[in-house]
Symmetry: C2
Subunit: 298 residues, 2 copies
């Protein structure tokens, strides 16, 4: 998971966003949020997310197949969680080469199934296809969230306090990227008890993702790099740029911040919550230094 300079992926997504934007019936959030959200049953929104893992990029042939399946599912769960929702159904596309045995595929499905039991979604379909190259496991997930609790990246305001859960960096060597537990319960608790202004999950590293949240919210940001919660063995640079942390990054009104912090300590005594900085009026960001997030398309 080598690092790249930024620009590529975001620029490409912006192009596609422009290319595809049009008057959409019932679309509440589209390209550019953690999930798309469309009008759902009753007072709920239907969340839609697709995410994939690619052999040689997100996993290796030496990784346990069940962990690959777990990771493929949990990446999507993490996005649904970051919108304040709960996952419901998943469709799984496995594009595999001849070297991937049935046993390997069984392992992948075991991991998917374990994640389904753990986080409450059902795998209701999918597809198998062959490739001559690296395997791809793509997970499409639906979720549900009440309108009131739906959280986007774009609601942040200047002055909002920024938090991250857990620790950042070194996700590859530590194995975290394969075995992480998406912050579903924590996000549900946050969405249900506080008026979060903006939230997203950290998949490309804080240095890649925080500017996205700020841009969506039309704010700048300032963080204190010395306050960043680092995983054991992670340098500051790695905490900013490694990616695949799958922690929550969120913004709350400064009026809610103290209440949130003390409630958090009681409810989640074992999981760190760190106030890393705030959103600002200016359009620029401070505190990331030269760090860049992970970008497939730089």
């Amino acid at each position: 998971m080598k690092k790249k300079t930024p620009g590529g992926e975001d620029a490409l997504v912006a192009r596609l966003q422009r290319a595809l934007r049009r008057g959409s019936r019932g679309v509440v959030a589209g390209i550019g949020d953690d999930c798309a959200a469309v009008e759902g049953p009753g007072r709920n929104l239907l969340l839609l997310k697709t995410d994939c893992v690619v052999e040689g990029r997100h996993f290796t042939p030496r990784d346990p197949a069940a962990a690959v399946g777990w990771k493929a599912a949990c990446r999507a769960v993490s996005d649904v969680a970051a919108c304040g929702g709960v996952p419901r159904h998943a469709l799984v596309t496995c594009v595999v080469c001849a070297a991937q045995t049935k046993r390997w595929l069984d392992g992948v499905y075991r991991g998917l199934d374990k994640a389904g039991r753990e986080f409450g979604f059902d795998v209701v379909g999918g597809e198998l296809a062959r490739t001559d190259g690296p395997a791809v496991i793509s997970v499409a997930m639906t979720g549900a969230v009440s309108r009131r609790e739906f959280i986007r990246r774009s609601g942040g305001r200047a002055g909002d306090v920024l938090y991250v859960t857990g620790t950042l960096g070194n996700s590859l060597r530590s194995g975290w990227h394969l075995h992480f537990r998406p912050r579903l319960e924590e996000a549900r608790w946050l969405a249900g008890n506080f008026r979060l202004r903006a939230m997203m999950d950290l998949s490309d590293g804080l240095a890649g993702d925080l500017p996205r949240l700020a841009r969506a919210s039309r704010t700048g940001f300032v963080i204190d790099p010395l306050r960043l919660p680092r995983r054991r063995g992670a340098t500051l640079e790695q905490a900013l740029s490694d990616g695949e942390d799958f922690e929550l990054l969120f913004a709350v009104s400064p009026r809610e911040a103290d209440r949130l912090e003390s409630a958090w300590k009681k409810r989640w005594p074992k999981l760190r919550l760190t106030r890393i900085g705030q959103l600002t009026r200016t359009g620029s960001g401070k505190g990331l230094g030269q760090a860049r997030g992970f970008d497939h398309f730089a």
Copy 2:
């Protein structure tokens, strides 16, 4: 798109089906139908489908990018249509290698967007990832269908008359596989005006797909191979086995058959509808000879 002997893919799907089956809340149809169907808003079901095209398997680097995008979307539309539904939203995962330029991706999105305008769905999200191997475009689609009009593979009964729309075979050389028009309007009309017992779209060739419909319906079948509607230049073997026809295969009660045929001629004078045979009581199939459908995993 070379032919293979059967067994592999179906056997694998059956394994996964067993592995993943469990008491599922609100799941009306799961793995094994053209789409999954879950409880949706009001009297509707939410249809969920994922489908992918793989470079070197479903398209080549020489094919126009817009046609690749069109095909990727229309494959999923065809499945939604075969359930009696209409497509609503799509998420698109593009896994591409360095050789695929931004221009190529723009072309793919242009094709997706054209299909969206044509068939009434919005592309609301997706993902971009890199691979060192063949590109994969995966489309996850939602659709809607009223409970009354939802059609599965499994409702066929012995004696039901079997029909296919259009012509079969030679989809690769003729370019049909890239430029086909999914039978959405036709399927909606069928679902709205007749009590279809079972329907599916033909993607792996009649010789691969008809046994699936019969198996799901716990029937046998007999077809008259000489009646099969062949595309120009297609041999009988090709009409049975080439795959990627994206025509509708459906079963209706013999009491409805005549009415359906005459109504069809008035409503769709330019599109062939062929009575190819019927479902039977015995569990075996007749009329396919030695032909096999396309199977990625044989």
